[in-house]
């Protein structure tokens, strides 16, 4: 066997035969293997791969972005802008593609906002923008000029914790703590819009914040407690 088709690289065990089952058939235990290739051995395959020096099928591994290269526009140009963060005006150089999470964490020293995924899939980066909870990892910093940004660091006043923060402590809501700042911000946003939510309403409002430790029950207890304490004044 002298020539190995590039598409077969790594497909050892998969011949070009059709799948051994279809939706209609009950699936069997048959392992897909090209036993029908006479005179072909596994060692031949390995030798073939190494000798042929193939990276042709690399296209799938290196992706579309590299098949049509464009000149890299280094980073873009930073522009000095003013941001309103936690009630303070901060002047900072910001790249066009810079996200609010990155600006807060790396340029403004506010590391309370966390990066859990950077893809709007977890909520650890949740901040308030004009009082509304949003993912700072997916907000361009240039977009929040002229808006009020509130991070977890902006909640404590004169050493007094926000009721949500205190309630989370009292209910032992955080475990590892990494999702906590985001949870706090979503809870604060909820209670500022709906000071007396039902547990179900709270649950939906918090549903954009993932907790891998699974502390949802305790966070909800904290939210309900904070609502109670705030009602009581």
């Amino acid at each position: 066997m002298s020539e190995m088709h590039p598409a077969d690289i790594g497909r050892e065990g998969h011949g070009t035969s059709p799948p051994t089952h279809t939706a209609a058939d009950p699936p069997g235990t048959q392992v897909l293997l090209p036993e029908t290739r006479s005179g072909w051995s596994r060692r031949d395959f390995i030798k073939g791969v190494i000798a042929s020096g193939v990276t042709v099928s690399g296209a799938v591994y290196f992706g579309a972005s590299l098949t049509s290269p464009r000149p890299l526009f280094a980073q873009g140009v930073e522009r000095l802008i003013s941001l309103n963060v936690n009630g303070n005006v901060r002047r900072v150089d910001v790249l066009p593609g810079e996200t609010l999470a990155m600006t807060l964490r790396y340029k403004l020293g506010l590391t309370g906002t966390k990066l859990g995924c950077d893809r709007a899939e977890c909520g650890a980066c949740t901040v308030l923008i004009d009082g509304v909870n949003q993912y700072s990892c997916s907000t361009l910093t240039h977009r929040v000029k002229g808006r009020e940004v509130t991070t977890v660091e902006g909640l404590e006043t004169d050493g007094e914790l926000h009721p949500v923060q205190q309630a989370f402590i009292d209910e032992l809501a955080p475990q590892c703590g990494f999702c906590t700042p985001g949870q706090v911000m979503s809870a604060v946003a909820l209670l500022s819009q709906n000071p007396d939510p039902t547990r179900e309403e709270a649950r939906i409002a918090m549903s954009g914040n993932l907790c891998r430790c699974g502390a949802y029950d305790h966070y909800l207890n904290g939210v309900m407690r904070a609502a109670q304490e705030t009602q009581n004044g």
Partner: protein
Amino acid sequence: MMKDMIPGFELYQPVEVDRAIELLGEFGKDGWALAGGYDSLDWMKNRGKRPEAVIDLDGLDALKGITETADGIEIGALTTLTEVERNPIIRERFSILGDAARKVASPQIRNAGTIGGNVCQDTRCWYYRYGVSCYRAGGNTCYASAPEALNREHAIFEASRCVAVTPSDTGPVLVTLDAEMVVRNGSGERVIPAEDFFMGPAVDIERMTVLDPGDLLISIRVPNTWAGADFYFEKVTDRNSWDFALVSVAAALRTNGDQIEDARIVCGAVQCTPKRLHGVEAMLRGQSRTEDLAERAGAAAIEGAEALNYNHYKIPLMENLVKRAVRG
């Protein structure tokens, strides 16, 4: 594959719609219209898309908000999904749209994500998003339709080299409501029925909607035709937050007693565009709303469905959702 750190681009932040259209026309394929950012930033961080210029639409206040018109409502394309969900007119007359908006992703995404972005968003085929060079990415193969490919989320209808599905929740609803999309570019404005707004791979394998570079979705008009109808919306997912539909159904029935006068039924995530079930709608007109009718409607809905390796469950699932929509 996920590489992180957005490559550089020029950022434009127009506050006038005309200026935005001018920029989109100027940059064409090298420009990118940025609405909520939840589709866009993913691509840019993964370095799958590298626009030279990003035109940030967030400053276009004229495109935000919901207004009454003579015969319906007009929703600015940049209206957030949260706004759509909470709007009193939508709640009262077109509750199905609010229901669909409420099911999109997560609260934070709904707070910034726009209805325009939701209907224009790119497909979520995991091979395509991974960054492989498939047809949709300008290459010459489809990885998801290969004999052993993992394609449980992919299409059961209208496969045409590409088997990706529409991920939008509001798209099927807007088709159900006979909505119209108002699109503007440097040459003028045109109005496109929602059903014709989406494109399948047979028409253009690289785009999900009819928008050309230079086009801007301005607003969505929803006529009063279906206001206050019997609505049904259901989205089946793995998780109850963040996840895209495995199959969804949006239905509007106008009934007189238990007689169905007219119907619209559209399914999501079964093909690359919202799938309007014309045949089922015809079957329903003039009929009594019974369990038997529901069953026949379900069976009719899935006629012609073709499964891939891992998605044959979508066929009975779609059947059941259509049944439930008719059942009410």
